[in-house]
C-alpha cells in the first residue's frame, strides 16, 4: 500500500483488490453457459425419465427453473456490465455450478429414477424438497424455535466466556482463583451433563440453554484469556502515560486487543453450539429441528430427517456467514496480508 494515497482512494482500491482476491477465478463465458445448460439438462432429465418411486417432482422442478433463471440472469448481467461484484461472484462460482448440476442429475438418476439407492434410507433431492413443502409449517416453527434457542444460549455463553476471560486475563488474583476451575470444569463435554440437567432444571428449555451455553463458554473464555495476555505491554504503558483509568484501559485496550483471539474462540464455540443444540433438542425438547429429526426417526420417515438436515445446512451456514461479517467489521483495523 502506498502511503501517498488518501483514505478515500485507498478504500476504493482496497475494495477492488479484495474482490479479485476473494473471487479469483476469471470470468468465463464457457463455464457460465455450461452451468445454464447443465441445469436445463437436469430439468429435462427429471421431466423425461420416468420415476420408479412415488414422488411429486413439481417443487424440485420449480427449484431448477429458479436456479436456471438465476444463472441466466447473472450471466447476462456479467456479460453486459463487465465489472462489479455480481460478475466477479458468478464468474468465480460458474465451475462449481456446473459440478452441482451434474451432482443433481446423478443423484436424481440413482435414487428416484432407477432406485439404485432406494428408499427409505436414500431419497432424491426432489423428495426432500417435496417433504419440505408439505411439512413447511412444522419445519418453519421448528427452525424459528431452534434459532431462538441457539441465539439466546450462544449470547449467554459467549458473554459469560468473555467476562470470565477478560477478568482472568487482566487480573492475577481472579486468574488464581478461577483458572484452575475453568480448566477442570470447562474441559468436560457439555453433553455429559445432560442426564443431570434434565432433572435439575425446572424446564427442559432451561436445561437446553444451559447445555449450549456451557459448550460455548469454555472456548470463548479460554481464547479471551490468551488474547488479553498477548497484548503488548507498550499499549498499557501508553495508556497510563495518557491518563487512562482502569475502566478505560479495559474498554479501550483490553477488549479490542483481545478481540482477534476472542473471535477464534467464538468460531470454535459456534461448531460446538450447533452440536449441542441438536443433541439437547433430541433429548428433552418438544419442538425444534433436533426434536423434528428424533420424531421422524421414531416414525421411520427418513425423508424428514434429510429435510431437517438440509434446513440445518442452510441455517447454520447463514449463522456462520453473519458471524464472519461481524468479525470482519470488528477486526477492520487489522492488517490483511495473508493472501
Amino acid at each position: 500500500m502506498s502511503a501517498l494515497t488518501t483514505n478515500a482512494e485507498h478504500k476504493k482500491n482496497k475494495k477492488k483488490r479484495e474482490l479479485t482476491l476473494k473471487y479469483w477465478k476469471p470470468w468465463s463465458q464457457f463455464w457460465n453457459i455450461s452451468g445454464i445448460v447443465i441445469i436445463l439438462l437436469a430439468l429435462v432429465e427429471n421431466i423425461s425419465v420416468p420415476s420408479q418411486e412415488d414422488v411429486n417432482n413439481k417443487p424440485y422442478q420449480i427449484f431448477l427453473i429458479v436456479y436456471f433463471l438465476y444463472l441466466s440472469f447473472t450471466t447476462v448481467w456479467g456479460w453486459i456490465f463487465r465489472q462489479g461484484h455480481l460478475r466477479a461472484y458468478s464468474g468465480h462460482f460458474s465451475q462449481l455450478n456446473v459440478s452441482l448440476g451434474i451432482l443433481l442429475i446423478v443423484q436424481d438418476l440413482l435414487t428416484e429414477k432407477f432406485s439404485i439407492l432406494a428408499q427409505p434410507f436414500f431419497v432424491s433431492f426432489a423428495q426432500i424438497i417435496e417433504q419440505i413443502t408439505t411439512d413447511h409449517k412444522l419445519l418453519w416453527d421448528s427452525t424459528v424455535s431452534s434459532t431462538v434457542l441457539w441465539l439466546v444460549s450462544f449470547i449467554v455463553g459467549a458473554l459469560i466466556g468473555v467476562v470470565f476471560g477478560l477478568l482472568m486475563g487482566r487480573y492475577r488474583q481472579f486468574n488464581y482463583w478461577a483458572f484452575p476451575y475453568l480448566k477442570v470444569i470447562g474441559i468436560i463435554p457439555a453433553a455429559a451433563w445432560m442426564p443431570l440437567t434434565l432433572v435439575i432444571f425446572p424446564t427442559s428449555y432451561m436445561s437446553e440453554i444451559f447445555l449450549i451455553a456451557f459448550a460455548v463458554w469454555f472456548p470463548v473464555a479460554f481464547m479471551t484469556i490468551g488474547g488479553v495476555q498477548g497484548i503488548s505491554s507498550e499499549y498499557f504503558e501508553s495508556a497510563k502515560t495518557l491518563g487512562f483509568s482502569e475502566w478505560r484501559i479495559m474498554w479501550k485496550i483490553v477488549i479490542p486487543g483481545s478481540l482477534p483471539s476472542m473471535f477464534i474462540g467464538i468460531f470454535t464455540a459456534l461448531g460446538l453450539s450447533f452440536t449441542m443444540l441438536v443433541i439437547s433438542e433430541m433429548m428433552g425438547a418438544k419442538v425444534g429441528l433436533g426434536w423434528y429429526i428424533n420424531w421422524a426417526r421414531g416414525v421411520g420417515n427418513y425423508t424428514q430427517v434429510y429435510a431437517a438436515i438440509v434446513i440445518m445446512a442452510v441455517l447454520f451456514s447463514l449463522i456462520f456467514v453473519i458471524s464472519n461479517k461481524f468479525q470482519t467489521y470488528f477486526l477492520r483495523w487489522r492488517e490483511q496480508n495473508n493472501h
Partner: protein
Amino acid sequence: MVQLAIRNVSRTLQDNNGQPLEILKDINFQASSGEFISIIGPSGCGKTTLLRLISGLDTPEKGDVTVDGNKVTAPNVSRGYVFQHGSLFPWETIEENISSGLKALNGRNYDKELVQHYIELMGLKGFESSYPHQVSGGMAQRAALARSIVMKPKLLLLDEPMGALDAFTRADVQEVIHQVWQQTKTTMVLVTHDIDEAIYLSTRIIIMTPRPGEIKEIVTNPLDFPRNRTSTEFMDLRKIIQDKLNFY
C-alpha cells in the same frame, strides 16, 4: 528554573538468569523548563530505563526523580511519552489515537480544534480515518507525537522515536519535533543513539557510559537555530561528542 531534577538515581534489574544487573548508577542531573535534553550512549547503557524512571513507568531503588519539586511515583499525563515504535493503538484510527488521551481526560467535550491543529501540523490531513497499519512509519510516529503533545505535557519524553525510521523520514520527523518544541516550549528529553540527531535538536547532550550507565559528561550545545548539519561548527561538535563516546 529547575523543572526536572534527578538525584543519585540507581536502578538494578534482573537479567534472563535472574542475576542482578546494574543498569544505572548514581545519575544526577537537572533540566530547566523549555530545555531540550538528549541522552546519548552505547546500547544497553540504560538510556531507556532512565527515561522510564522520569515518566514513572519504572521506579528507582535509590535516589529520586522530581518534577517541579514533586516526586515522581507513577505515570501522569503531565509527562508525555513517545515509544520507539510509536505504539499507536492499532484498533483506533489516526484521529481516534491522537484524541484518545484528551477523551480520557475530558470525555466527549475534548478540544477538537487542538486535535485538528496537530493533524495538520503533522501532515496527517486526509489520513484521519486510516488505521495505523495503513500509514507509513513516519506518519505513525508523527501521530504518536501528536497524541502526546495534545495533552500539553510539561515534559515530553522521547524514546528513540526515530530509531526505526529510514534517513529521509527521520529528518522529516526531527523537523516536526523541533517545530513542536519551538512552538510549545515544552521541555523535552530525547533518548537516541544518533549523534547528528542529538546535536540538531538539543540544547544539552548527556553522554552516558556503557553499563552500568553513568553520566560521563554533559555537553552544552552552543549552536544557534536554525542549525545546519553541514556547517563546520556542527561537524566540530560532532567530532567532540564522537570522541567522548569512544569507550573501547
